[in-house]
């Protein structure tokens, strides 16, 4: 057997800034040509492990290392980031923030420039990789102008140009729409074979990564490896939920239908899945579930009529858009990157002024209200909590809105404590915000808005960067305030799972119009809309279609069963 290309032996690591080790006694061998998925809840140490692979640890993040770790034959404590980077190419989570070059071609050539290569050699290399990754027509564009999928291809080209044999992806799906994510995973799989790469993917969206074959799934928890096996074996034991990870949807469906997972073959590959008598079981289950009539929301809250907006009036981003949101609804707003989802929320909140159209909230016209007046009724939570937090202590941050509105101190304290309890932040109330994780910060920003008791909430990617546990907590919490306070909630998201399981209505935005406005199950079973809006079919659809069941009905029934189980 060949020697491993990456080898960790009883490896532990403690950041100098932390009191406890982040990685504990890790033993891991990865062999050349393998495609490995590392998953785990936030704080499990998976990103830290990634930093060990590319040398950021211990070079940029100093700390204490025990045990040994070698990558491509080099001891990571002995070699520099520069040496390791010849062997390990890293694609970071957010391609936008890692572009250095002003144009695509310069960004691709960046590492060659640092190696002092001649211009002729740089031209040959960039031309070669532009062909491989289909970037020829984009070379002179600014990387920021590209779509999410194109950006990721540029980022890949920028590291593959070194001919490194190990490719490391840190949450590659986080900033992509579902269709681009799917395409990106397919490309990675193709490169693994054509370029003889060893690929390590750090990601918690397991189902999306498993769309392409994975050799090994490594699950981390509390700094250690708790599972290291072929994906099929881990899926069969139903370990995922136990380990704080989201199970693929089709697997949950199989379980609901009472399928014994031990009888299944190719459990990790839906396309090749073989289960004796599966069609009967699924059809039986579907026939046995009756769909309940959906809850009707009849009281209009926000009406939008003929709204038009564009930075360039000749190319409107929002073009003659009309819709109504009702009190107590939970709505998802989906669509391709850059299609105007955030623009629409900015128009509703008054951050941008429309060129035409009319909006009313609670029968009051919105045009005449200032940003602050609208904010009293419509809370908007930005995707990046760092853009919202302006105080250093949690209590002060949540209280700020009330204090500025001149509420008396006793009431402020009461309301802040109440909202902190609802958000699960009460114990942390005297903590500095800098000590919180990303997910906790996000909850602080939600608390700071909720305390103002708006009638409607708009959340931009509320669950991005959150593991299953925090995701479930956050969504249960939002569902609770939605039901109890009849608060209208609009979620802007790329997460098909989120829209399917938690929202009653989906608005699909494309080319400045509403392409479709229906239940999530209807949207996700409509091929034309899926293609137009860069969404992705869920595995439920594929499963239903393969077994002669009406996909829309099956998806709707599955969602109902899941919600009842919750």
């Amino acid at each position: 057997m060949t020697a491993p290309i990456i080898s960790f032996k009883d490896f532990s690591f403690q950041y100098n800034s932390q009191t406890e080790p982040t990685l504990r006694h890790v033993n891991l061998d990865i062999y050349p040509g393998e495609k490995v998925l590392i998953a785990g809840p936030s704080g499990s140490g998976k990103s830290t492990l990634g930093r060990c692979l590319n040398g950021l640890i211990p070079q940029s993040y100093p700390g204490t290392v025990t045990g040994s770790a070698t990558v491509a034959g080099q001891d990571i404590t002995q070699s520099s980031i520069f040496d390791l980077s010849m062997n390990v190419g890293t694609v970071l989570q957010d391609p936008d923030s890692q572009f250095v070059g002003l144009t695509v071609v310069e960004d691709m050539a960046f590492s060659l420039e640092n190696d002092q290569q001649s211009q002729a050699r740089m031209r040959t290399a960039t031309a070669k990789w532009a062909t491989t990754l289909d970037l020829q027509d984009l070379l002179t564009h600014r990387p920021q102008e590209l779509s999410g999928g194109q950006k990721q291809r540029v980022a890949m080209a920028g590291v593959l140009i070194d001919n490194s044999k190990i490719l490391l992806f840190d949450e590659p799906l986080a900033s992509l729409d579902p269709a681009s994510g799917k395409a990106s995973m397919a490309l990675v799989d193709q490169l693994t074979h054509t370029q003889d790469l060893t690929v390590v993917i750090i990601e918690h969206r397991i189902e999306d990564v498993l769309q392409q074959p994975i050799d090994r799934l490594i699950v981390m928890q509390d700094g250690g490896i708790v599972a290291d096996d072929r994906p099929e074996a881990i899926l069969r034991q139903s370990l995922m939920a136990q380990l704080g990870l989201r199970e693929p949807l089709y697997l949950s469906a199989l379980k609901l239908a009472g399928v014994n997972l031990d009888d299944c073959h190719h459990l990790d590959r839906l396309a090749e899945l073989q289960v004796p008598g599966l069609t009967d079981k699924l059809q039986q289950w579907t026939a046995g579930v009756t769909l309940k009539a959906p809850v009707k929301h009849g009281q209009p809250l926000l009406t939008v009529k003929h709204l038009t907006f564009g930075y360039d009036p000749h190319a409107p981003i929002i073009n003659d858009l009309s819709t109504t949101l009702y009190r107590g609804e939970m709505v998802s707003l989906v669509g391709q990157n850059g299609t105007g989802k955030s623009t629409l929320s900015n128009l509703i909140t008054g951050f941008l002024q429309p060129q035409a159209g009319h909006m009313t909230f609670n029968d009051q016209p919105l045009e005449t209200q200032s940003v602050k007046e609208r904010a009293d009724q419509i809370g908007y939570i930005l995707q990046d909590p760092n853009q919202m937090i302006s105080k250093t202590l949690i209590y002060d941050e949540v209280a700020a809105g009330l204090v500025l509105r001149g509420v008396d101190p006793a009431t402020v304290e009461q309301r802040v404590f109440d909202v902190l309890k609802v958000c699960g932040l009460y114990e942390f109330r005297h903590w500095p915000i800098s000590a919180l994780s990303f997910g906790q910060k996000k909850r602080v920003t939600i608390a700071a808005i909720l305390v103002l008791e708006p009638a409607m909430l708009i959340l931009d990617e509320p669950t991005a960067g959150q593991d299953l546990q925090h995701y479930t907590e956050m969504m249960d919490f939002l569902t609770k305030i939605n039901r109890e306070k009849q608060m209208t909630i609009m979620l802007i998201t790329h997460d098909m799972h989120l829209m399917l399981e938690y929202t009653d209505r989906t608005i699909v935005l494309g080319n400045g119009h509403i392409l479709m406005d229906a239940t999530p199950a209807d949207v996700l079973t409509n091929d034309a809309i899926i293609t137009q809006a860069s969404l992705a079919q869920t595995s439920l659809y594929t499963l239903a279609a393969a077994h002669q069941i009406d996909p829309t009905e099956f998806v709707a029934k599955f969602v109902q069963a899941e919600r009842e189980a919750r």
Partner: protein, 278 residues
């Protein structure tokens, strides 16, 4: 919505665009230095006309630069007024003669031809370099900007930081906008309606998140650069660096000639000033 306050590069397909960035930078620096040193009016008018002709050929539209121009003109006029207020006899000191236009010689505020002539020279100095600077900034591809700084001897780390800082200006501007609106939504009044101190405090509220989000940005970008070996060697090459062409040598030759004429005029005039009053 988005005003073009900052001046931007655009490929205008002129010979100035095709010159290498280093040539343009060297020419701009060289001509500015000699222009700042000399007070020879004939020479200053000469290079003023030269730079205006170049500006014409650069096909830069006046409305693209009108904002910058009006700021510069405003400051120049203010400066000329201040020079007169603080030193109304400086022209007389320099040129050694006194031709009174207004007032008498024992008044502090009088007006002499010498003073007017001196301030005219100042005006020429302030303005001749402006078209040259605009040409340099607006015809040099930003990608080439760092390469050309590096070529004239500035360390590549500094050159690259300058280029990256320029690239991040729009991002930081949009961050600022988002944060400011998010804070207004929370109830911070920072519009002109609020009293001055409230606005200042509101400004501070925006700075904190802006600094944090910028620091995040810097951390990510510097890691990304390190992971691609930025800073490994003492030197680096540049994909966009342009080799000197025949036109570059020609341009540098013309500029060198102009500078030599300037230096020769120091000898002829016996100093930095050309004195028409003698």
């Amino acid at each position: 919505m988005q005003n073009q306050l900052l001046i931007g590069y655009d490929d205008r397909h002129t010979f100035l665009n095709r010159l290498s960035g280093s040539t343009k930078l060297l020419s701009f620096v060289g001509l500015s230095v000699i222009g700042m040193m000399t007070y020879d009016t004939r020479y200053l008018i000469g290079i003023m006309i030269f730079s205006l002709i170049l500006f014409h050929f650069s096909k830069i539209k006046y409305r693209d630069v009108s904002f910058v121009m009006s700021v510069i003109i405003g400051f120049s006029v203010l400066n000329l007024v201040m020079v007169y207020v603080f030193a109304p006899h400086y022209g007389v000191d320099i040129y050694g003669t006194e031709h009174l236009l207004l007032g008498s010689s024992n008044h502090y505020f009088n007006l002499t031809t010498e003073q007017l002539f001196y301030e005219f020279n100042l005006l020429l100095k302030y303005t001749f370099a402006v078209p040259l600077a605009l040409i340099f900034l607006m015809t040099t591809n930003p990608s080439e900007f760092a390469a050309s700084l590096n070529k004239i001897g500035i360390s590549y780390r500094i050159s690259y930081s300058v280029a990256i800082a320029l690239r991040y200006i729009p991002d930081v501007q949009s961050d600022y906008r988002t944060i400011s609106l998010a804070q207004q939504a929370r109830g911070f009044e920072i519009s002109k309606k609020a009293p001055f101190m409230t606005r200042v405090r509101g400004g501070v509220q925006i700075m904190l998140p802006l600094i944090f989000s910028s620091l995040d940005r810097i951390e990510v970008i510097s890691q990304a650069m390190e992971l691609r070996r930025f800073g490994k060697g003492k030197k680096r090459t540049w994909y966009m660096a342009q080799k000197f062409q025949r036109n570059d040598y020609l341009a540098l030759f013309v500029v060198a000639l102009l500078i030599l004429i300037g230096i020769a005029l120091f000898k002829v005039n016996g100093g930095r000033f050309w004195n028409p009053f003698k």
